[in-house]
């Protein structure tokens, strides 16, 4: 992407300015502390501090460093009340201030060193929210439930603390929606009310994960409940099993203290993070695929033994156990590939900042992405589409201040990005602007046809070359590049793109993309005028058939005729792919793709090679379309499915092939 904004360009300035601000904030706090000791007030210093924190928050916001924003915002709120109290900031307030400023400084250093920025500690944020700014004593310790850290609001923690004080039991329940539950009419809504009837339901949190036996829809709901009911009753209410009702152990959190670690020992707070090159995860996944293949081989061998009358019960049990472990491993690898959507969207704040012209066109970016996560491979492909949409919104949709004021709108435009996880392992991302909207009639005139609905409108503006045809489209609300956005979302990621717009009020683009995708490197080729793809990894070599003298040996009537060629001193079998697939074939095959099956080389004759691509493969789920030798389908960019062949599996079917007599 040529127009990517370089983070580095801003990082230097950000660090220099932040260092200065944190240093002066620390000095100010110490000054207040000394004044407190003499029973004096320092209202001006409090206001200076407030301004310093406010600037820090703004800077961090522009850089998209959320933990600093949170910390600065929390202490800024404390300072505002201190200011309103005539500049009175008590001893505890000063101490919390020092911890906060120190925390901000650490995170600035993390940015400087290009390390992951640790999250803002919940305990500190909680105490900042409740500190008695004039007093000297610490507020009551908040309550933390293990496994729910960072997911509970202060009010919910208080609810928990009260439950603990009353010696009540706390549980986490899991509800996994599936076809079975929905056919019984059990939904999260019914579970919620059933559980609420048994006790105090504190929180319900959805969690998406790769589909598995435990979560067939790839979605789980976790319910935190205070209840005296039995584990069995709770399990029944959540349509779950008693084994999945987990008691929650909670503990009071010690108030934040000013024990500072040495500079060289600063560890990320909260979770620890390891950065891994995506290529290494891919390698891991490839190794796993190889393991799956050898497991199938093992299963076949076990079946052969059983057929020979050997007692294989022990072996079979081990096989099944291994299968479960493999699935577990696969889930683990998929989880390791997930990145936080908030991190993915980070560069967008910079883009918004660079496109905003103070006094001419101002834009406020609002992100509401919660804890959503996305496969790194999806995220990398998606980001250019989001950048296009954000750019277009600011360049073309959001009006200059003059026009906005004339239209009675707020000076600054708002660009809001919302994310939520949909059913079926999907993430829905809405990009909402409050700009001028797309003028359907103007677009219709340009396209030379009336536009009656938003689907057609989207079709028209996403037609390659549509908007570049006439520069006047700039004023109609949307710039160029919608074809690219649609290609990324629909063809590359197998997702959906939708549009909603109202003239004068704004436009929303909604992208629905899968949370994970399988991307593989494939060769495309043509056989009997139909295009197919095969994984590059399975193809040993490709050679010209014309260079060889093929000999067709005898074949029993009705069997697949297999030719032989000599290659590097060895006979190689040539399987006519078109005939094998029973698709009428007129062209003589020109190329052969070689795969290895049980150590033996098999060459498949095809008409011609088309190319090599990285594609997203979608599984073929429906029984009507699931056939041996077809592993899935992909879109090579023409909007039509192209089948992904498993040549090794097709090779296995050769001996059973019989000519079909036309009836």
């Amino acid at each position: 992407m040529g127009d990517q904004v370089d983070l580095k360009e801003f990082v230097g300035g950000f660090i220099a300015e932040s260092d200065q601000l944190t240093a002066s904030a620390t000095a100010g706090l110490l000054e207040i502390e000394q004044a407190n000791a003499r029973n004096e007030l320092r209202p001006k210093t409090v206001r200076d501090l407030f301004r310093a924190l406010h600037t820090l928050k703004g800077l961090a916001g522009m850089m998209g460093i959320e933990p600093i924003v949170e910390l600065a915002h929390a202490f800024e709120t404390v300072l505002r009340s201190a200011d309103q109290a005539g500049g009175r900031l008590g001893a505890r307030g000063v101490e919390l201030g020092l911890i906060t400023v120190r925390g901000i400084a650490e995170r600035v250093r993390a940015v400087a060193d290009d390390r992951p920025v640790p999250r803002a500690p919940d305990g500190l944020l909680d105490e900042l929210a409740r500190v008695d700014i004039t007093g000297t004593s610490a507020a009551p310790a908040p309550y933390v439930a293990h496994g729910w850290d960072g997911r509970l609001a202060p009010g919910e923690r208080t609810q928990l603390a009260a439950a603990l004080a009353a010696n009540k039991k706390i549980y986490t329940l899991t509800f996994a929606p599936s076809d079975a539950t929905s056919s019984k009419g059990v939904t999260i809504a019914t579970v919620r009310s059933a559980v609420a009837a048994l006790g105090e339901l504190i929180k319900v949190a959805p969690r998406s994960q790769p589909a598995s036996a435990d979560a067939p829809a790839g979605l789980l709901f976790e319910l935190l409940v205070v209840s005296d009911a039995s584990v069995e009753q709770l399990a029944e209410a959540a349509s779950s099993t008693p084994g999945r009702v987990m008691p929650v152990v909670g503990e009071a959190v010690a108030p934040a203290s000013l024990e500072l670690p040495a500079d060289d020992e600063i560890a990320p707070i909260g979770r620890s993070v390891v950065r891994v090159d995506l290529g290494r995860l891919d390698e891991l996944q490839d190794a796993l695929s190889a393991l799956v293949v050898s497991r199938f081989r093992l299963e076949r061998q076990v079946a052969a033994l059983a057929a020979a009358g050997v007692d294989v019960r022990g072996l079979r049990e081990t096989c099944e156990q291994q299968g479960r472990q493999l699935r577990e491993l696969r889930r683990g690898i998929l989880r390791a590939r997930m990145v936080r959507v908030a991190d993915v969207l980070e560069p967008l704040s910079l883009i918004v900042r660079s496109l905003t012209k103070p006094g001419v066109k101002e834009v406020r970016l609002e992100l509401d992405v919660r804890d959503s996560e996305l496969d790194k491979a999806v995220a990398d492909r998606l980001l250019p589409a989001l950048v296009h949409l954000v750019r277009n919104a600011i360049d073309h949709a959001i009006e200059p201040i003059v026009d906005r004021e004339k239209a009675g709108k707020p000076r600054a435009g708002t660009l809001r990005i919302e994310c939520r996880e949909g059913a079926g392992n999907e993430l829905e991302i809405a990009i909402r602007d409050d700009g001028r909207g797309i003028d359907r009639d103007a677009i219709g005139r340009r396209a030379g046809k009336p536009i009656l609905d938003t689907a057609t409108l989207l079709d028209v503006i996403a037609t390659p070359g549509f908007s570049t045809r006439d520069s006047a489209t700039e004023t109609s609300g949307r710039g160029f590049g919608m074809d690219i956005v649609r290609r990324i979302v629909v063809s590359d990621l197998g997702g959906e793109l939708a549009l909603d717009t109202a003239v004068g009020r704004g436009t929303t683009f909604t992208l629905t993309v899968p949370l994970t995708i399988a991307i593989i490197d494939v060769f495309s080729f043509e056989c009997a005028q139909q295009a197919f793809v095969v994984p590059v990894a399975t193809v040993e070599e490709i050679f010209e058939l014309g260079d060889h003298n093929a000999v067709t040996g005898p074949s029993a009537k009705g069997r697949l005729p297999i030719a032989l060629i000599e290659r590097r001193g060895k006979p190689v079998q040539i399987i006519p792919l078109g005939t094998l697939l029973r698709i009428p074939c007129e062209v003589t095959a020109k190329k052969a793709l070689v795969v290895r099956r049980n150590g033996e080389a098999l060459a498949f004759a095809v008409d011609r090679m088309l190319g090599r691509h990285e594609v997203v493969v979608r599984p073929i789920d429906d029984v009507l379309a699931r056939v041996p030798g077809v592993a899935g389908a992909t879109d090579l960019g023409d909007g039509r499915p192209t089948l992904l062949l498993d040549l090794v599996e097709l090779g296995a079917g050769v001996s059973n092939w019989r000519e079909v007599q036309p009836s």
Partner: protein, 150 residues
């Protein structure tokens, strides 16, 4: 009880399916042939990013030649995308134009011989004035429930 139904034509006869089972209608140009799939499967199409198998109703209803055989599509051809349980499939029909509100209490079981001949694909018949005969399609059966349980 009345309900909305989508009416369509296949080989001269007129059929209906309940609108509750229909997700949307798509125009049709071609489908990707799936080697080894049942003969009545015209192939695979991509609808809004999803892979959907298409059942060629001419071929399914024994009316030849179906699209699968000739590969000649008509401008009127439509794919009715239906959903049954968790499955989504397309029905390739000659044309689909009407959405009708039908009184389901007027539905009658198909006459004996037709019932046998239609292999259960027609679950009822009904008529609407002036003299329109409509065959009510058993969608789960048509999209090959027997294949699903094989």
């Amino acid at each position: 009880m009345t309900g909305l139904h989508v009416a369509f034509k296949v080989g001269g006869a007129e059929y209906v399916v309940s609108a509750d089972q229909v997700l949307h209608l798509e125009s049709f140009t071609e489908a990707t042939h799936i080697p080894g799939a049942p003969a009545f499967v015209a192939g695979l199409v991509q609808v809004r990013g999803k892979l959907v198998p298409v059942v060629d109703l001419r071929s399914r209803f024994g009316i030849t030649p179906g699209w699968s055989a000739t590969r000649e599509h008509q401008l009127d051809n439509r794919v009715i995308v239906v959903s049954v349980g968790s499955r989504v499939a397309g029905l390739l029909v000659d044309s689909a134009r009407d959405v009708l509100r039908l009184d389901e209490s007027t539905f009658q079981p198909p006459p004996d011989l037709v019932g046998v001949q239609a292999a259960g694909f027609v679950k009822a018949v009904t008529t609407i004035p002036p003299s329109r005969l409509l065959l009510v399609v058993d969608v789960p059966r048509v999209i090959g429930e027997e294949v699903a349980h094989a």
